[in-house]
């Protein structure tokens, strides 16, 4: 379980999170929504212990991770698979080496086994023909798919974290990524948290929606509650969704 208890965080003088509190189970399908620069990605980084809060507690599976060292954070981070915005592939490595990277570094598997698994993973995410390409030769959608394959390479985790998985993608590629995320969640039967500002993507994938505005959670509820909310900023944000749902 993930628990945020009155978490405050600032970048220099700019307060990004102001007393954020929520609880989430690993099996849940959660979307964290809000405007750009509203602290969504900060929440994800806090969960992974990549940054520490100024105030408040973050508890992952019963462990307060606030003051843990990098070594102590390793077992906490291993509970998650993360796909960063735009994939975060290593520019100097071809696709197959990017996917093989974690298997080689962490699992220390022999080369034959690694490349067998790389082929299998790339096939699973639908980019088997991109094995030898360099990251700069990939389209935005292929980037995300390869990043998902790399995240899958270290085996089953408790939860997937996606940072803006469809940002900058055309509708067709966006649909493909949504289908892939849904398929993975069903096949692996694990939950995920998606950081996004595209409400329709969140609607297609998630059961729970957390809205951030000015560093505070202004809405936390399910689909039914989202459609009937009276909170004006949330209503403004989901206008397009309401239009598409009514259609």
């Amino acid at each position: 379980m993930i628990i945020f208890d009155d978490v405050w965080f600032s970048y220099g003088d700019r307060e990004v999170l102001k007393g954020v509190s929520f609880q989430a189970d690993f099996h849940e399908r959660i979307a964290v929504l809000g405007e750009s620069g509203g602290g969504k990605t900060t929440i994800l980084k806090l969960i992974l212990g990549l940054i520490s809060p100024d105030k408040g507690k973050i508890i992952i599976d019963g462990v307060n991770i606030n003051n843990l060292s990098e070594e102590e954070l390793i077992p906490i981070r291993r509970k998650f698979s993360i796909v960063f915005q735009e994939g975060a592939l290593f520019d100097s490595l071809p696709v197959k080496e990017n996917v093989a990277f974690l298997m080689r570094e962490i699992l220390r598997l022999p080369d034959e086994e690694i490349y067998l698994k790389v082929r299998e993973l790339l096939q699973r995410v639908g980019v088997s023909d991109a094995e030898e390409l360099m990251p700069e030769e990939l389209s935005g959608g292929m980037h995300r798919r390869v990043a998902i394959a790399r995240a899958l390479a270290i085996g089953k985790t408790k939860m997937f974290l996606y940072d803006e998985p469809t940002a900058g993608l055309d509708p067709v590629n966006s649909e493909r990524i949504v289908a892939l995320i849904r398929d993975l969640a069903e096949r692996e039967s694990i939950g995920f948290m998606i950081i996004t500002h595209v409400v329709y993507v969140a609607w297609q994938l998630c059961d729970r929606f957390i809205f951030l505005k000015d560093g505070q959670i202004i809405f936390d509820g399910d689909k039914r509650e989202l459609l009937s909310t009276n909170i004006q900023p949330v209503k403004d944000f989901i206008k397009e969704l309401l239009f598409r749902v009514s259609e």
Binding site: G12, D13, K45, L48, L50, E70, I74, R77, R78, F80, I82, F84, Q85, E86, A88, L89, F90, D91, L102, E105, I106, I154, D163
Partner: protein, 289 residues
Amino acid sequence: MTIQKRRGLFLGVNFFLHSLNSFVLTYQWFTVKYEAEIKRMLYDIQNFYLICINSLVKIFKRPLYINDIIEQMEYAGASSVFIVSLVCLFVGMALSLQLSAELSSLGLKMYTGKIVGIAVIREIGPLVTALVFIGRVGAGQAAEIGSMILGHQIDTLRVYGIDPIKKVVIPRVVASVFMLPCLTIIGDLVCLFGGYYIAVFVSNQSGSFYWSSIIEELTFENVFSGSIKPFIFGYLISCISCFYGLTTRGGAKGLRTSTTKAVVTSIVVVIAMDFVLTRILLYALGFSL
């Protein structure tokens, strides 16, 4: 106590209290205004020292990332040979030209080789090579690591328990520490050849005398003095570049800032360190001033 003395004491105490009050107010104003900057500066200094220390402490801790070290050596070393040679050739020629002109007016033209030899081996070779190295390798390292920060690649390493110091910083530090001395040897040789070309073909001096006076200067003191510096310069350049790369924030503008800072800081530190090392080495090797 007379009234005048009391008044004097009163004025003295009053002056002291006013001064104390002004000092406290100035201190408060200063800390409020610059608190964030001071904190950030101290935090940066602490992080820089941590990178310097960890890059030494963790060097033999497994995994060793040999392939990364070789790849970085190729980038820092082999790929820099041409530019180092080119710069050193012109520096050697300019130095020899200046010395020949000045010394011939004094009738001491035959000392050109001797002075070029001492200057290049002890000072100019290591310094010029280090400056070229900063521009090519240091800037590259800062920019590469900075873009890895902005592209979340460093975060990816941390998430999966891979130490960025071991995977990213140490291969670059090791490559710089071992490649800069190699480049300095090449740079010294090319510099001396540049000097030879001017001395023989422009200044009409004897080539064999030029080389024999240089060989005379290849003493332990001179060679040691010139060869210890590149190891230290390489370590400093790489630590500074990696530090600025790892502290990159804020998109393309932030990347530009961190790369510029890495280059400027490296240049200043290398030149200052060159002076300090020269002073220490002259003292340690028994040169009298």
